[in-house]
């Protein structure tokens, strides 16, 4: 197969025309936005709601009661949340017996695949901020909040700090220094619940991933 590699590269090098006229890459159309923090939050909410995402603005200290209210309203019987992260710890402190069960993703997927796929009702994760223009959440899954945690349970709750909303994807990746820092195994933008329009362009939610995406914005 090394033969294929050298053949392809040789053909590309031999065929390249010297006269490549390169226009300048002017990133202004995807970069320059002049929005206040309040405008960014409003736009984020409008955009993610337009694709069936759910947004609740809560004072930073009040998110636990709000989450409990939502869990009860949606009749969820358990919640997957990292016990190592701060929200998971806060949640455990305010927990009492008759609430949904708290689960932890504390072992490799191979050990509990069927359980995760069939028995977990909801998950709660943090995020690395959001993008106003497209209503997207930025997630870098890691050992504490693994990749499938935000994909397999039917309902996904996300905590977003209001001051972590960037205007554009371009601003997010340059401000957070993605290139210099090096990307994780998997980086994600999530914008709403899983959906499809493959049957006669009729929208249906929750086709493979969560049917509900609920964002708690901490103000």
């Amino acid at each position: 197969m090394n033969q294929a590699r050298s053949n392809i590269l040789r053909r590309l090098r031999a065929g390249r025309k010297a006269s490549f006229a390169l226009p300048r890459s002017d990133f202004a159309p995807v970069r320059d936005r002049d929005w206040s923090a309040a405008e960014k939050l409003d736009l984020f909410q409008q955009k993610i709601e337009s694709v069936h995402g759910e947004v609740h603005r809560v004072p930073a200290q009040q998110w636990v009661p709000e989450l409990l209210r939502l869990l009860a309203e949606k009749q969820l019987s358990n919640l997957l949340v990292s016990p190592e992260r701060k929200p998971g710890q806060e949640l455990r402190e305010q927990w009492h017996g008759d609430l949904p069960e708290l689960l932890a993703y504390d072992q490799p997927i191979e050990n509990w695949k069927s359980e995760l796929f069939n028995q977990v009702d909801a998950s709660l994760t943090t995020c690395r901020g959001a993008i106003a223009e497209t209503g997207s959440l930025i997630l870098w899954p890691d050992t504490q909040e693994p990749r499938l945690m935000t994909l397999v349970p039917p309902v996904h709750f996300v905590l977003l700090e209001a001051d972590q909303i960037y205007a554009t994807f371009h601003e997010a990746l340059s401000t957070q220094g993605w290139v210099n820092q090096g990307l994780p195994t998997n980086a994600l933008l999530i914008s709403g619940p899983s959906k499809t329009a493959d049957i006669e362009q009729t929208l249906a939610y929750g086709v493979h991933g969560p049917a509900e995406l609920v964002v708690l914005v901490l103000e």
Binding site: N2, A4, I8, R11, A14, G15, K17, F20, L22, P23, R24, S25, F27, A28, P29, V30, R31, K47, Y105, Q107, P108, I109, E110, S114, F117, E133, T134, G135, S136, T143, P146, R147, L148, L151, H170, W178, V179, L183, T185, N186, A187, L188, L189, S191, P193, S194, K195, T196, A197, D198, I199, E200, Q201, T202, A204, G206, V207, H208, G209, P210
Partner: protein, 481 residues
Amino acid sequence: MSQHQEAVQEFHPRVHAALQDSQIRNNFRKAMDGLMGKRQQAFADWDLEGLRDLGAAVRLRALSRLPELLEELEANLTRQGVRVHWAENGDQACEIIRDICQARDAKKVIKGKSMVSEEMELNAYLEEAGIEALESDLGEYLVQLAEETPSHIIMPAIHKNTDEISALMHEKTGTQPSRDVAYLTASARQQLREKFMQADVGVSGVNFAVAETGTLCLVENEGNGRLTTTTPSCHIAVTGIEKVVEKLEDVTPLLALLTRSATGQHVTTYVNMISGPRKEEEKDGPEEVHLVLVDSGRSSIYQDEELLDTLRCIRCGACMNHCPVYTRVGGHAYGTTYPGPIGKILMPHLLGLDKTRDLPSASTLCGACGEVCPVKIPIPKLLQRLRKEAVDGDSLRPSVVSGHGVKRRFLEVLAWKGWAKMHAHAGFYRLGTRMMTSLRGLMPSKLGGWTRYRTPPRIASKSFQQMMREHAQKSNAGGRS
């Protein structure tokens, strides 16, 4: 030659069949009208020209350094633990994927949407090797159940309406007949969940491969792409060599253009960026990640500075949605993996003009495809170029496309030579027009393809020159009297 490729040559009968099929015409018309409107809305607040210029600039910059960027991509991915493979054609790529599966004793492959894998006819190849390959994108799943091929590169099952899909799912999977799309979708989710859990290998495509960070970007709405690339213990991504971009920031305009051009969405539900296999402490993700880089004719397109623009394509499908031909005949009439305008300029390179002879001329050259292309590929210009290639008609440069000259006919060449001669010499011109006017009664009433849809042209009884001469004589005569 596969069945698929032979089928390309029967273009005209398929077009006629499609035009007579009111179901097909309704399904496409409804879908395409909707998509055109959504795209327009999605760009309403944008400096669309500025964005398209940027998209084109990013793609051109990537192509100008294509071999270096591929090496950079390979080096970064390799450092991050991804194994990179190179394939000169579809069969080699299929072989690589089969070998990876066999080395892992894998029997079940789950697939995310990948047009390159359609191009390679990977599913059939794997089935022959005793490996089950199951599509997991809902549209692709339906198309696979129906034993068909996608009719659109973004919406594979767009040729079917809800009733047809209900009947298909009822017959093949035992669901209740229903017009409830939520029910049909939920049933497919249930059927595929089991398959995800059992799959040994996930195969996906790639939307953009970022050289500077060694990152594979996948864009999707359903989450099947994420499941495919996360759940099985091995992920194989397969992509054409042209999908590489130089920098991570280059993804931002392409993403903004891709989703809005394709379906009028401001973003897809998931943008999935993969830079390596599962690390030691991580609890999920594949332990092995492979990238298969497929050439399949792309490096020969690269040899020609005009045709090279074909490689800018980001596979959004906007050219199909806006094409007056595609919206009437649908994707299957083309008989090629990529239908519509992009198919007409890409497939001749992948299969040869001799096998796609009718594609470049299946266009009115109305220009809509070029106007909506997010990376400004001059599709109408390339169609004209391929028409010239098909008759070896460009005296300025030698023909380069495989199968060129397939439509060159001795009589036609002779006719055009005569035409040229006649127009270059006044004497021949007079002789020619005199013959045409005086022998006009001999013209047959049927003139092949022309008179199938049009009335035959009527040649005047006098040529223009003759009329001018008579006019001059008359006024001279008048002046003297």
